[in-house]
Symmetry: C2
Subunit: 319 residues, 2 copies
């Protein structure tokens, strides 16, 4: 059932004990929204716990409250936590891991993803917002609560990370003004951005190796990084690698191919115009127009040739 | 002589023919400010020319008016351009190349750099502004003029590039709100950011080569890219390379060393805390606390050893 912002504010204000959660593989919006809302509710005197069923990347240790995030640890838990509300942020209910199993409470879902499956008992969904943290910003005002520096840092981080630091097409004037107000509560954009951009030395070394494989094709309209099985195994994390290709002049489609096993390759694609979801769909994958992926059950060499040809055909058809 | 914003607006409004210029090696703020102000003044029915004594990088072709920027071509010019005002943007008068020599007009200087030398007849300086384009935003309002999409795109680009897309410490709530308003006139942040991030294939290939040289030192508190003479010669443009080092976890000081000639090495440094201007100063260079550079007249191997030792000493002294 869809609920209004005012009803959402009322429900949260009326609860005494709340459990907050967000999706596995948590990003800045998931973590920032959960921590920010947690600070607000604690400031209102409520009993709040934050659970996320995954590791929390160390870059988020810059956020106040990072250390209070718990994992559900379902196996060793003797009984369920009784609460007035389980608030699920930035995802449908299917991506919260074991958190749903350890909490006995009515579920309240708050999200900005248009793909939200809507299976929550109560859902506040606003897909015009760039981030769930933008909804948190509105919700805090709706609840009549003041921002503190701690709250502002968390909410700002959610907004900044989901908009690529105000560069993606989802960034609106509302986004900019919300960030302006949060900065007035002491958020330092350089502190947050430096923390978010941090990479381990090994990841940077891995990026250097991966960039050696760069290849342009389709008359320069596409380019990719092609990591064979050995190289894929040696690199812990390839987040952001595809951006090194995406920025090349004249490139519409950027590809990252990783050979995970002898006959299992994972393909990620980003485009500036071409519908790469269609290409991915042809191989049983999916995604959005500008960001999609698929898995190819073939050797590294075959997979590379196959995806290059598929992109070539799509580019030709697109003309 | 220092002039107020109101006096600046009055002077510009009162002129009929204006020449606008900005610094050589022009960046987004120089170009965006000059083009944006040009659009406004032309909209007021004035005769406006924009001169910049340098090549204008192709990434700026996304900006309306890019094609009207002229080079002074002093040698082939028969006589000076007579104008009511020469408006020098985003720099002191010493960095406008030949533009001063081809224009016969009183000079009006508008800048946000605290280092402005103040030698202009009339100067409007506001070092609290993140970009000269931020001053343009205020000035346009002070002149009572409306924004158009063309004006907004130019001014937004100046602000966005000088703040690293709202990530640097110079970003203020004023910056964010100005950007919000400019977006309401049709600026698309993704279009501007994609244009600004574009790199040639050769530069990306060069970055891949340069990243192979990455080295950590001083217990991981410093790291650098060290390009010998051959590698330096093979890479056209190293802009942004040092950022690949700056983001490494635990790194305070990032270094880029380029060996330009047999015994001539250029060092750039970025820091998150340490005063690298002091280190640069020790070798006759200079800069700011967090971004500085110097030239070492020694071989590649000597220069590498020398700068590593100097950074090591500074880090020890800093503890």
């Amino acid at each position: 059932m869809n609920i209004s912002l005012a009803e959402t504010a009322k429900a949260l204000s009326g609860a005494r004990k709340l459990v907050l959660t967000a999706h596995v593989n948590p990003d800045g919006d998931a973590i920032g929204s959960a921590l920010g809302l947690g600070h607000v509710l604690r400031g209102m005197g409520k009993d709040v716990q934050v659970f996320i069923d995954d590791d929390i990347p160390a870059i988020f240790s810059v956020l106040p409250g990072y250390e209070v995030i718990e994992r559900p640890e379902k196996e060793t838990r003797e009984e369920k936590i009784k609460a007035d509300l389980l608030v699920v942020l930035d995802t449908s209910l299917d991506r919260i891991g074991d958190v749903g199993d350890i909490v006995d409470a009515p579920v309240f879902n708050i999200d900005h993803h248009v793909t939200n499956k809507g299976e929550a008992e109560r859902l506040y969904l606003d897909s015009n917002r760039a981030a769930t943290a933008e909804i948190m910003y509105e919700l805090i005002k709706e609840m009549g609560q003041d921002f503190t520096q701690d709250i502002a840092m968390c909410i700002y981080t959610g907004i900044a990370t989901d908009t690529g630091f105000f560069r993606y097409s989802n960034t609106t004037p509302f986004t900019m003004r919300a960030a302006a107000e949060l900065m007035e509560y002491g958020v330092k954009p350089n502190i947050i951005s430096e923390a978010m951009e941090q990479k381990s030395y090994d990841v940077v070394k891995g990026m250097a190796e991966a960039m050696q494989t760069i290849e342009r094709f389709c008359d320069g309209k596409a380019a990719g990084l092609f990591l064979d099985q050995a190289l894929t195994a040696s690199i812990e994390n390839t987040e952001g690698f595809i951006d090194m290709v995406r920025v090349i002049e004249g490139v519409d489609v950027a590809v990252l191919l990783k050979c995970k096993e002898e006959r299992l390759c994972r393909v990620s694609m980003r485009s500036k115009g071409l519908d790469v979801a269609k290409i991915a769909d042809g191989f049983g994958g999916g995604g959005h127009v500008r960001a999609a992926g698929c898995t190819l059950e073939m050797s590294f060499a075959e997979a590379k040739k196959t995806i290059m040809e598929a992109i070539g055909k799509a580019l030709e058809a697109g003309i």
